[in-house]
C-alpha cells in the first residue's frame, strides 16, 4: 500500500460523455484510496472551479490525470512535469491546462505533474475504449501500489 511522507493530491480532468476524454474521472472513480497523505478529486470539465479548494488543501505534489495527445499509440501513458505540460490538452474544458497549472503554481507550493493518456476515441459516447480502459486500470493499480507517486518523490 501507499507509504508517503508528504501530502499528494490526484486530480482527474475530462468529460465522461466524450469517450476516452473521461479517462481522468474514470481513474478517480476507481481509486477510492483517500488517506491522510493522499486525496483524490474529480474536477470534471471545470478544473478551475476547484482551485480554491485545492489551495486550501495545500498539497506538496499534484498529479493531474487527463487525456492528452502525444501522437503516440492509444493507451500510451506519459508523465510530464509542470514545465513540459502541453498548451493544449484534448479535454473540452474552456481554460487551457497550461493556465490551470499556472494558477495551481501561484496558489500552492506543490510540484505539478501531468499523467497524460493518449486517447483512441473522443466521440460523443460514454465509456472508454478497450485500449484506454486497460491502460487506465493498470494506472489505478500502480497508483494504489504507490509506485508512480514514489517515483516522483
Amino acid at each position: 500500500m501507499l507509504s508517503l511522507s508528504k501530502f499528494t493530491l490526484i486530480l482527474g480532468i475530462g468529460n465522461s460523455l466524450r469517450g476516452d476524454d473521461g479517462v481522468g474521472p474514470y481513474i478517480i472513480d476507481k481509486l477510492k484510496i483517500e488517506n491522510s497523505q493522499l486525496k483524490i478529486l474529480n474536477c470534471g470539465v471545470v478544473p478551475e472551479d476547484y482551485i480554491d479548494e485545492i489551495s486550501e488543501l495545500s498539497p506538496d505534489k499534484i498529479f493531474i490525470i487527463d487525456a492528452a495527445n502525444f501522437e503516440e499509440k492509444p493507451g500510451t501513458v506519459k508523465i510530464v512535469d509542470e514545465i513540459n505540460i502541453p498548451e493544449k490538452s484534448l479535454s473540452t474544458h474552456n481554460i487551457s491546462l497550461k493556465v490551470f497549472v499556472g494558477l495551481l503554481k501561484q496558489f500552492t507550493q506543490a510540484k505539478v505533474f501531468l499523467i497524460g493518456i493518449q486517447p483512441e476515441n473522443m466521440d460523443y459516447v460514454e465509456g472508454l475504449s478497450k485500449t484506454v480502459k486497460a491502460s487506465a486500470d493498470r494506472l489505478v493499480e500502480q497508483i494504489v501500489e504507490g509506485s508512480i507517486i514514489k517515483k516522483y518523490e
Binding site: N94, L103, F107
Partner: protein, 428 residues
C-alpha cells in the same frame, strides 16, 4: 507626418481563438489595417443537417465552451419556432435564470482574465495571481458561481443537458432553487468588489459612432427572443434577421463579416446597454453611473464596463426570478407533435445577438441550418475602429500602439472559436 509603422501581432493573446492584427503605415498613410481571422471553419451548419430536431441544441451548444447556454437556448428556440412548439411560462422562467448564470460567468471571465491584466500591467492571469491573488480568487469564485447556476438548472457545469426542445427534462426542486438563491446572495461582496475594481481601471478615451444592434422586448431587458432593434431607430422581426445581419466574405477572415444600415455595426453588452438602458435593473443603473457609463456611449473600450453593469443587472434579476421559481416550481411533462417547417431564434449571447435558423422535414430531420455569431457581426466594426484609432495614436511608440489595438480587440470579447466555430483559448 512621415512615420512608418508596421505591426503584425500573430495570435492576439487573451482572446478565444486565433486572430492576427495587421497594421501597415507608410509615410504617415494608413495602407493596411485589419483583424485577420485565421481559424479554419468548423462547418456546424453542415454537421446538423440530417439530424433529428432534438439533437440540434446538444450539438450546436458545442460551438462554444463559454457561451454554450446561449447556443443551446437559441437552438431550442429556433427548433421550437420551426416545428411549432410553444414553451411553458415555467420553461421561459428557468431559461432566463440559466441565461443570467452564463452572462455572469462569461462577463466575469472576460473582465478579470482577459481584460484586467492590461490595466494591472501584467501579461496574463497567471502573473496576476501572483501580484493580485485576491482578485484572481474572487474571479474564480464568481466564475464558479456561474457554472454552478448552470449545473443546478441544466444538469452540467457547461454544455447544458437538461435544457431541451420544449422545456427541461428535470425541474430543479424548490429546495435546490432556494439553496441556489442563498449561494448567489453570499457572493454580493464579490460583485461589490468587482465594481470597486472597475472604478480603478483607466479606460482609453476613443470614440467612433456606429450602429448598435440588440434584441428588444417591451417588458424587460431582452436576452431571449424579442425583435431586432437598431440604434438607428428601426426594428425588425426575427424572421428578417438577414436584412440586418447581411453576411459577406472578406479575404482576410475565415469568419464572415456582416453589415446592417451602415458599413458596420456593433453587438454585445455596450450595444444592449446603449439600446435598452431604461430597462436595466435599478442596481445596474446605479453601477453604470458609478462607473461613468453614460448612454449613448460610442467608446468600444467601455464594452467591458457595460459587461459589469450587466453583471449587476443579472445579479439583481436572478434573485427576483428565483423567488418566483421557488414559489411556483413544479414538474412538467414535455409533450408536442412536431411539424415540418422553418424557424428562426435569437438570443443575446454574452458577446451579442446570436441567430440560429433551421428547417425540418416531415420526419423532424434537419434539412437546412444557419448560425450567425456575434463576433462575426463585430469584425467589420473592429476593423473600422482600428482604422480610425491608428491615425489618432500614430505618435505613440509602436509598442503602445500595439497594446492599444490589442486592448481594443479584447474589449469586444471576441470569440473567434464561435465565429469560425473553432474552440481554443490561448494565453501568454
Amino acid at each position: 507626418m512621415t512615420k512608418n509603422v508596421k505591426i503584425d501581432v500573430q495570435y492576439v493573446t487573451r482572446v478565444e481563438g486565433h486572430g492576427n492584427i495587421i497594421i501597415d503605415v507608410k509615410n504617415g498613410q494608413l495602407v493596411d489595417c485589419k483583424l485577420q481571422i485565421i481559424e479554419p471553419p468548423r462547418f456546424f451548419e453542415a454537421m446538423v443537417r440530417g439530424r433529428k430536431f432534438g439533437d440540434i441544441p446538444l450539438i450546436t451548444s458545442r460551438i462554444c465552451g463559454i457561451c454554450a447556454v446561449s447556443h443551446n437556448t437559441v437552438a431550442n428556440r429556433s427548433v421550437e419556432n420551426a416545428i411549432g412548439v410553444v414553451p411553458s411560462k415555467q420553461t421561459e422562467l428557468l431559461r432566463k435564470i440559466l441565461f443570467h448564470g452564463e452572462m455572469i460567468q462569461s462577463h466575469i471571465l472576460h473582465v478579470y482574465f482577459l481584460v484586467a491584466p492590461d490595466f494591472l500591467k501584467v501579461g496574463s492571469v497567471i502573473p496576476l495571481a501572483s501580484t493580485h491573488p485576491d482578485i484572481v480568487k474572487r474571479a474564480l469564485r464568481l466564475k464558479k458561481l456561474g457554472n454552478h447556476i448552470c449545473e443546478v438548472l441544466a444538469g452540467r457545469h457547461i454544455h447544458p443537458i437538461a435544457s431541451v426542445v420544449g422545456g427541461f427534462t428535470k425541474i430543479p426542486s424548490k429546495k435546490e432553487l432556494a439553496e441556489l438563491k442563498k449561494e448567489i446572495e453570499k457572493h454580493l461582496p464579490d460583485f461589490e468588489a468587482t465594481i470597486e475594481l472597475c472604478k480603478t481601471l483607466k479606460i482609453p478615451s476613443f470614440e467612433r459612432r456606429t450602429e448598435y444592434v440588440a434584441l428588444y422586448k417591451d417588458d424587460e431587458y431582452a436576452f431571449i427572443d424579442g425583435v431586432i432593434k437598431s440604434s438607428d431607430g428601426d426594428k425588425l422581426n426575427l424572421k428578417d434577421y438577414k436584412k440586418k445581419a447581411a453576411e459577406y466574405i472578406v479575404k482576410h477572415s475565415a469568419a464572415k463579416h456582416t453589415k446592417g444600415n451602415r458599413d458596420s455595426y456593433m453587438v454585445g453588452a455596450l450595444a444592449r446597454v446603449n439600446n435598452n438602458f431604461s430597462q436595466l435593473s435599478p442596481l445596474a443603473k446605479e453601477v453604470a453611473k458609478q462607473l461613468g457609463l453614460k448612454t449613448p456611449c460610442y467608446n468600444p473600450y467601455m464594452n467591458s464596463i457595460a459587461q459589469v453593469v450587466e453583471c449587476a443587472h443579472c445579479y439583481e434579476d436572478i434573485i427576483r426570478l428565483l423567488d418566483i421559481a421557488i414559489d411556483t416550481a413544479k414538474d412538467e411533462e414535455i409533450t408536442f407533435t412536431p411539424k415540418a417547417g422553418t424557424g428562426v431564434g435569437a438570443v443575446e449571447a454574452p458577446r451579442g445577438i446570436l441567430f440560429h435558423e433551421y428547417t425540418f422535414d416531415d420526419a423532424g430531420v434537419c434539412t437546412a441550418a444557419n448560425c450567425i455569431i456575434p463576433t462575426g457581426q463585430n469584425l467589420e466594426n473592429i476593423d473600422l475602429d482600428m482604422r480610425k484609432l491608428v491615425p489618432e495614436i500614430i505618435d505613440l511608440p509602436q509598442d503602445e500602439i500595439r497594446l492599444m489595438l490589442e486592448m481594443l480587440v479584447r474589449a469586444y470579447d471576441p470569440c473567434i472559436s464561435c465565429a469560425t466555430h473553432f474552440l481554443d483559448v490561448k494565453f501568454v
